[in-house]
């Protein structure tokens, strides 16, 4: 398991796709928003939590199609499916590797981008907390989407269509935590819901992902 | 025709568009069905002749 994790991380770093691309995309989204809505810092600071969440979500989505596609092409997935390690575990590891290479950098970089959008001071802690809690769910759900569409040529667009609706609950609760935090309100309820969704998704989704992948490997 | 008052546009467009959508769905379904039926008949005839 550790070997698989190390291998995935190494590959992501060597390809340069993981860390760099997702972050750059996140930055571009953050920069484009003021161009779209205008530079008034009052307006920006109000929508900052939501924009940052959506940016993180899109950056996460962007890197999903490389999650399984490369291993599918060179046959690594067939090896994984026949190895003693259950496919569910292998996919969980892959989701973890995806989170470390895209989710974690996003969490760490979010406060910096928050400055660009003049996020209120109270919001930084909650933004980081909500992203740290929410992005693992994004990776795990994304793994399911990747497993569903791995056999489809040029399935990137299809995967976005499938995955984005599944992101709705996570986005709602995550952005709500960040928004309430920024406005200095109680965050307990959405935070608990977000944590619940992440925990539930981590527990259950690998089974669905593995089922879908087995069908595709048949 | 009942007097629809100032909401006539809303009510009529709701009925019009809904019935149009339903009609399109039904027409499309029937055409698809007829085409599938014909294609199957053709193939079955051919496979019987070959056998």
């Amino acid at each position: 398991m550790k070997a698989l994790l190390r291998r995935d991380l190494l590959l992501a770093m060597r390809a340069g796709g993981g860390f760099g691309l997702g972050l750059a995309f996140f930055l571009i989204v953050t920069v484009l928003v003021p161009f779209g809505v205008g530079p008034q810092s009052e307006l920006l600071s109000r929508i900052a939590p939501g924009i940052l969440w959506i940016g993180a979500l899109l950056a996460c989505l962007l890197s999903l199609d490389r999650l399984l596609a490369l291993d599918w092409e060179d046959g690594t997935l067939d090896l994984l499916a026949t190895s003693p390690l259950p496919l569910e575990a292998a996919l969980s590891i892959k989701a973890l590797a995806h989170w470390i290479t895209t989710g974690l950098p996003l969490v760490l970089a979010a406060p910096v981008f928050g400055v660009l959008l003049s996020l209120p001071d109270a919001g930084y802690v909650w933004l980081v907390i909500s992203l740290a809690l929410g992005t693992p769910a994004l990776s795990v759900i994304g793994t399911f989407g990747a497993a569903l569409t791995v056999g489809v040529k040029r399935g990137g667009l299809l995967m976005s269509l499938l995955v984005l609706p599944l992101y709705v609950p996570t986005l709602i609760f995550g952005a709500e935590v960040a928004r309430r935090g920024a406005e200095g309100m109680q965050t307990t309820t959405p935070l608990l819901m977000l944590a619940g969704i992440t925990a539930g998704v981590i527990a259950i989704m690998p089974f669905a992902s593995a089922a879908a992948l087995r069908v595709n490997l048949r | 025709m009942p007097d629809l008052g100032k909401y006539a546009d809303a009510v009529l467009s709701a009925y019009g568009v809904s019935l149009l959508l339903l009609a399109l769905l039904i027409v499309w379904t029937l055409r698809q069905g007829r085409r599938a039926r014909r294609a199957l008949q053709e193939v079955e005839k051919r496979s019987k002749r070959d056998a």
């Binding site: 569409t149 269509l161 984005l164 609706p165 959405p190 879908a212 595709n216 | 568009v17």
Partner: protein, 255 residues
């Protein structure tokens, strides 16, 4: 794996599951369909004409109350169609009956049209009543999300060539999607209460519907249920024939 030939079925199970045999299913739907088409046509005609011409205006909503005869039944069927797809997907996963998978596939476009009708009539009703075509009301938002789920489901069917693989993957998606649709419903409820003051926008329709509106509404609901059944039965038959055609063509190509 190709579709079962009629010759390769040695013994016929009886009862409900016997309709999983494509040939028996086709025979059954052939017999029932004419009656279904007529009944649904009559119910829709009677219900809509009754509702449109012979019901009074509501004292608050004026004549827009007539939209209810389209809006409520289509919204009901939009949800029920997804539920039917969920049940059919489960049957496919557990019992591997092709008819079941194809029925789920056949129901999706019908569900989409129902969702569209519900969304459109809702918007048209909301314009004079709430003063806006669209409000991010929890119910409306949930329907939009349901619409997206339908689109994804159909796109996945269309994207995969092998019919059994497509059936398996879409079934898994339907199961997962159902869970997330329910989750989204609650999330959206929570989200809107957090943003706006209470949902003063959505009137509770069931509570204050008087008898004059209630009976034609029932007839319309019956009509929508029947037309849904007729369309799904017919479309399932189409899918079965398409698949059989493909199987026969594949056999031809092999010879």
């Amino acid at each position: 794996m190709s579709m079962t030939d009629e010759t390769s079925i040695p013994k016929r199970p009886s009862g409900f599951w016997s309709y999983a045999n494509p040939v028996k299913f086709l025979g059954f739907s052939e017999r029932v369909l004419p009656a279904l088409w007529w009944l649904s046509g009559i119910c829709l005609g009677v219900g809509l004409i009754w509702g449109f011409f012979f019901t009074p205006d509501d004292f608050r909503q004026g004549s827009t109350v007539k939209i209810i005869y389209l809006h409520v039944p289509s919204a009901l069927m939009a949800i029920n169609a997804w539920f039917m797809m969920l049940v059919a997907s489960l049957i496919w996963i557990v019992r591997r009956h092709h008819v079941s998978a194809l029925a789920a596939k056949a129901a999706a476009p019908v569900g989409v049209v129902m969702t569209l009708i519900a969304l459109f009539t809702g918007a048209v009703w909301g314009q004079p009543m709430w003063g806006t075509w669209w409000a991010w009301d929890p119910r409306l938002t949930s329907f939009l999300i349901l619409f997206l789920f339908y689109l994804g489901y159909m796109a996945l069917w269309a994207a995969i060539d092998d019919p059994d693989t497509a059936a398996d993957l879409t079934s898994v998606l339907c199961l997962v999607g159902s869970v997330f649709a329910v989750l989204s419903r609650y999330a959206v409820n929570f989200w809107n209460q957090g943003l706006h003051q209470g949902a003063s926008l959505s009137l509770d329709k069931e509570e204050n519907v008087a008898d004059v509106f209630y009976f034609p509404l029932l007839v319309c609901i019956a009509g929508f249920v029947l037309i849904f059944l007729a369309l799904v039965l017919y479309r399932t038959g189409t899918e079965i024939r398409l698949r059989r055609t493909r199987a026969l063509q594949a056999r031809e190509a092999r010879v």
